[in-house]
């Protein structure tokens, strides 16, 4: 996944390897469902991809299989939630947020039922499978829909907390994550609150505002920049909506440059959300959105694609130097 230099930096920063957020999600959901028989998972032939086979075996009365039918999945999830069930619709984000966007908009968000949608294998987790299986549009699509909290967790801790938050939310929640093993980014005393960015590293020269599986690369880049005398702040902006505007503005006002990093199109994602926040508060600074350009996305393993688009320790450090 990392270049040898990035691997060395991860060791230097003491980052320990965890497991896939997907696995953390599946275990967290099963634990919640075991404690709450009102919790129901809804899958579209996706219990395997969602690592929910053990859940399905242990709690067969609390899982609904809808077959390969994402529109139906979202409608059913909405109906369950409207009748008091704690419903989690789980499906690959590429299909969930495109095929059934109208169901998300109307049946869940507009109807305001407390359903949870979980977009698995998001971004370019299925990088080699081509654009059909990429979800680089999902944040843009859902950001433009009223009444949904959007969470993109960076590591196992954030994933666990995001799912726990979603299980007790009174309004719609969308959580999306990938399937690669993640590094632990947080200390034991970290506190997760939806809508509040987590500061992983303080710094004053440049701020990386990242989320999801890109955050670790920003953290490594901050380590590399420190060796060159550049101090970089790293924020995990796990909640895309509502946006933590205070943390964003603090970054814009206290640092000399801001770089956003996301596993998403440069259109409509975190970068544009942060840019709008900064500009409208007259807190404009040298600024760069690192994400997926508007082009036919290259294919390959997620790590290869990340490197291709500069989402790597080396790429992000270079971007930072170019802005300062």
């Amino acid at each position: 996944m990392f270049t040898p230099a990035a691997k060395a930096m991860a060791e230097k920063l003491g980052l320990k390897k965890g497991r896939a957020n997907l696995e953390e999600f599946a275990d967290t959901l099963q634990a919640l469902a075991t404690a709450d028989r009102n919790l129901v998972a809804v899958t579209s032939d996706s219990r395997g991809s969602g690592k929910l086979a053990p859940y399905g075996k242990a709690l067969p009365q609390q899982i609904v299989e809808v077959g390969i039918a994402e529109q139906n999945l979202v409608g059913i999830t909405a109906g369950l939630a409207a009748c008091g069930k704690r419903a989690f619709g789980v499906s690959p984000s590429c299909f969930l947020t495109a095929r059934s966007l109208e169901q998300i908009k109307n049946d869940i968000c507009y109807s305001n039922v407390p359903a949870v949608l979980v977009g698995i294998s998001s971004g370019v987790s299925y990088g080699a499978l081509g654009s059909t299986h990429h979800s680089l549009h999902d944040l843009a699509a859902l950001r433009a829909i009223h009444n949904v909290t959007i969470v993109v967790p960076a590591d196992n801790f954030e994933t666990r907390e995001a799912i726990r938050f979603a299980a007790s939310a009174t309004r719609p929640v969308f959580v999306r994550f990938g399937k690669a093993a993640m590094h632990h980014l947080h200390s034991a005393d970290s506190k997760f609150e939806a809508g509040k960015a987590l500061v992983l590293r303080e710094g004053r020269d440049v701020a990386f505002i990242a989320n999801g599986e890109t955050v670790v690369h920003a953290l490594l880049a901050a380590g590399a920049l420190a060796e060159q005398g550049i101090s970089a702040r790293v924020l995990s902006l796990h909640t895309v909506k509502p946006l933590d505007t205070a943390a964003v503005l603090a970054a814009g006002r206290e640092c000399r440059a801001v770089i956003t990093v996301e596993e998403h199109s440069v259109h409509g994602g975190v970068g544009e959300a942060v840019a709008a926040t900064l500009l409208q508060a007259r807190a404009g600074v040298p600024f760069k959105i690192v994400g997926f350009p508007d082009e036919d996305t290259v294919t390959g393993a997620q790590a290869d694609i990340f490197r291709h688009y500069g989402i790597s320790m080396e790429g992000l450090a270079a971007t930072a130097r170019s802005l300062l």
Partner: protein
């Protein structure tokens, strides 16, 4: 005879016939005053709603927040004026509220929303009601078959593929607490459904998908009541209600332009005159039946003043 049985009022056929006239008046005035609405489809589904809310659904304004109430989701959300007419007549909200339909900042928008008491889900984009109802029916099953779930579909709406995803899944889960009613008026905005996108044979299609299918006259209270109340063990129920678009107003019946045509002052007056005549006819039929001894007075129900609204 008017009574409440397990959270539903039970009106006689005679009372329903008078209600139907009153609801049509209310709906037409509402569309006229709002300057917008779906007149033809509203008139075609109104008798179905009349039977649902006065005989079938175990829900009243007093039990509308009960977790075990029956659910009704109007998938053909564009016919919201018919729903507003019925819900206001049932006392879910004051009739005076209808003066605000489609006005600036009114919660009474041109499609159903949960902001309105008695409305279960926000609908209006077609092909959404059945999947939602499937989720509701599954929730009911998980809670020990606590309630029944009903949706009303339009026939043009059946071109939406999501209906067929849900049709497959409902039979897979043997949802015998789920009822989909088709307002089969055979006309959609562009013209006849068979010309726009043919969907027949509907009975064979839904049976092939594993549903119990019943075909009724969608303006026949007794037939609708029987179809909607008889059990259908192990299978979801699809009721093909054969209806007339624009039913009850001669110049609107089966005329495509009334899909969302709004009556002028003169057209409203003419329609209301026809409804007055229809009401007189309902009364005359009842009196004739009484005087000939064909029915007892009790069969008419106790309330004779339900028609004015």
């Amino acid at each position: 005879m008017q009574s409440v049985v397990k959270d539903r009022p039970m009106l006689s056929d005679h009372q329903l016939a008078l209600k139907a006239v009153a609801l049509r008046r209310r709906m037409l005035r509402l569309i006229h005053d709002a300057g917008a609405g779906h007149t033809g489809g509203g008139l075609s589904c109104l008798d179905i709603l009349n039977v649902l809310y006065h005989r079938v659904l175990r829900v009243t304004p007093g039990t509308v927040d009960s977790p075990t109430r029956d659910r009704y989701v109007q998938s053909k959300g564009h016919c919201v004026e018919a729903l507003y007419a019925v819900l206001s007549a049932r006392g879910y909200f004051p009739e005076a509220d209808l003066a605000t339909v489609c006005r600036y900042q009114s919660p009474y928008v041109g499609h159903p929303t949960r902001k309105i008491r008695g409305v279960e889900m926000n609908t209006g984009a077609l092909g959404h009601g059945l999947p939602i109802c499937l989720g509701m029916a599954l929730a009911s099953k998980m809670d020990g078959d606590a309630f029944r779930v009903f949706t009303l579909l339009g026939d043009g709406e059946l071109a939406e593929g999501s209906n067929w995803e849900a049709a497959m899944a409902a039979a897979h889960y043997n949802l015998d607490n789920l009822v989909a009613i088709l307002d089969h008026n055979t006309l959609q905005i562009t013209g006849h459904t068979r010309d726009v996108m043919s969907n027949e044979p509907l009975d064979a299609k839904w049976r092939a998908f594993g549903w119990e299918v019943r075909i009724v006259d969608g303006h026949d209270y007794a037939a609708l009541t029987a179809a909607l109340t008889a059990p259908h063990p192990g299978k979801p129920l699809f009721v093909i209600a054969n209806t007339v678009k624009g039913k009850g107003v001669s110049f609107m019946e089966n005329v495509g332009k009334w899909h969302h045509g709004v009556p002028s002052d003169a057209e409203l007056a003419q329609a209301l005159a026809e409804l007055d005549a229809a009401e007189v006819k309902v009364e005359r039929v009842a009196l004739n039946a009484l005087s000939s001894g064909a029915i007892q007075a009790s069969a008419l129900g106790s309330t004779r003043s339900t028609s004015k609204s």
